[in-house]
Amino acid sequence: MIRFIEDCDPTAFEMLKLLYPHSGNAFIIGITGSPGAGKSTLIDALILEFRKLDIKVAVIAVDPTSPISGGAILGDRLRMQRHATDEKVFIRSMASRGQKGGLSRATKDAAVVLDAMGYEIIIIETVGAGQGEFDITSLAHSIGIVNIPGTGDGIQTVKAGILETGDVFIVNKSDKPDADELVHHLIMMINMRKASKTNWTAKVLKTIARDGTGVKELADTFLSHFDFMKKNGLIDRKRKELEHLYFHSLLKDLTLEKLLLFMKDSEDCKKAEKKIRSRELDPLSAAELMVNKMTVFQSNNKET
């Protein structure tokens, strides 16, 4: 099923429509951070903690697609193989297939499937990137950001970007020098945030994923964030918000696909291409001309 989604197989869309009403129960955790920060190893240790509580866990691990060959090596799972035969753990690797923001579009759909399958916690691991990875905020209920000591001074923590969105900050490899300094900077950054709407104060935790130090506390923190959201009705609000985003991104994708399909084969498009080749027309004017010519937009213009 997830395979159909990745391949944009039309049957996937129909199947998703059937599954969607059964989703909406899982707690979705997003884990992001720079390459080599230890995201996969940390998730491996987190699975272990959640399994101790008999929670069914699914992981979607996204790795980059090569922009050159279109291929990918999906190696996140390598760190989690000890859970491979646990029937209550489902791990799926996905290639980003050229989507920006570190998450493939299929990730959301895959999360719907796993949610409908009854996995209670879904962990989404983004490609190792960092500052620009906003997509995860439109997918997950709780965002964990994995940091490692020695990667920059305090100013890195106050720059804009993904750090603004974190609910839980993890200082991994905290046995390395400067871990405390990083913790300090992160706490300072959190204190400087405007009082957030949700009133959940982001937490900072030290972990050593390799030996599991601090991971129990991390699992507890995610669970208490979930509890907090449930108690305040925030989780419903969040789910509605994400649903709204999902609808709009689908709307955008479907419209674009249909329109492009229609335009690409049109006579106008062929003419425009020819004119661009012969230098009669520049690409900017040509694109503008074509869009303006479309009847949908013309009727819109009249109304306004």
């Binding site: 990745e6 944009c8 291929g71 090596i73």
Partner: protein, 132 residues
């Protein structure tokens, strides 16, 4: 919608031998050929391989075996694949494979054999051919 079908390959090393350089290099070559490679690492049990192949919905399982146990491992895995309804996944085996064993593997149902010395080009072409 435009479909974007890519060949997904699971590369796994069953058993006890610890030589994974070959498996990694092959993984890289397949990536460069535009495939999606799930690299599951060393010391995989057959149960792990089966479960991983299911969760990852792969088209191909590639085993790298240097221990000499390619015959019993392949036989067992193929049995398990049939049992679990994974019979449409193709199994390919590389590593230290003596030439006299190739017909035996073929008979078992191994789709392709890549003994040491097979070129990347041959590996890629053979895998692509499985899906044409």
């Amino acid at each position: 919608m435009e479909t974007t079908n890519k060949i997904r390959v699971l590369i796994a090393k069953p058993g006890l031998d610890g030589h994974d350089k070959g498996a990694k290099i092959v993984a890289l070559a397949l990536r460069d050929a535009g495939m999606e490679v799930i690299y599951s690492g060393l010391h995989q049990t057959l149960d792990q391989i089966i479960q991983t192949a299911t969760e990852e919905s792969v088209d191909v399982i590639g085993l790298s075996i240097m221990s000499g146990a390619h015959l019993p491992i392949s036989e067992k895995l193929i049995d398990m694949m049939r049992e679990k309804g994974l019979a449409d996944i193709r199994l390919v085996v590389g590593g230290v494979i003596p030439h006299q064993d190739i017909p035996k593997l073929k008979e078992m149902g191994v789709a392709e054999m890549f003994p040491g010395g097979t070129s990347f080009e041959d590996i890629i072409t053979s895998i692509n051919n499985l899906f044409e």
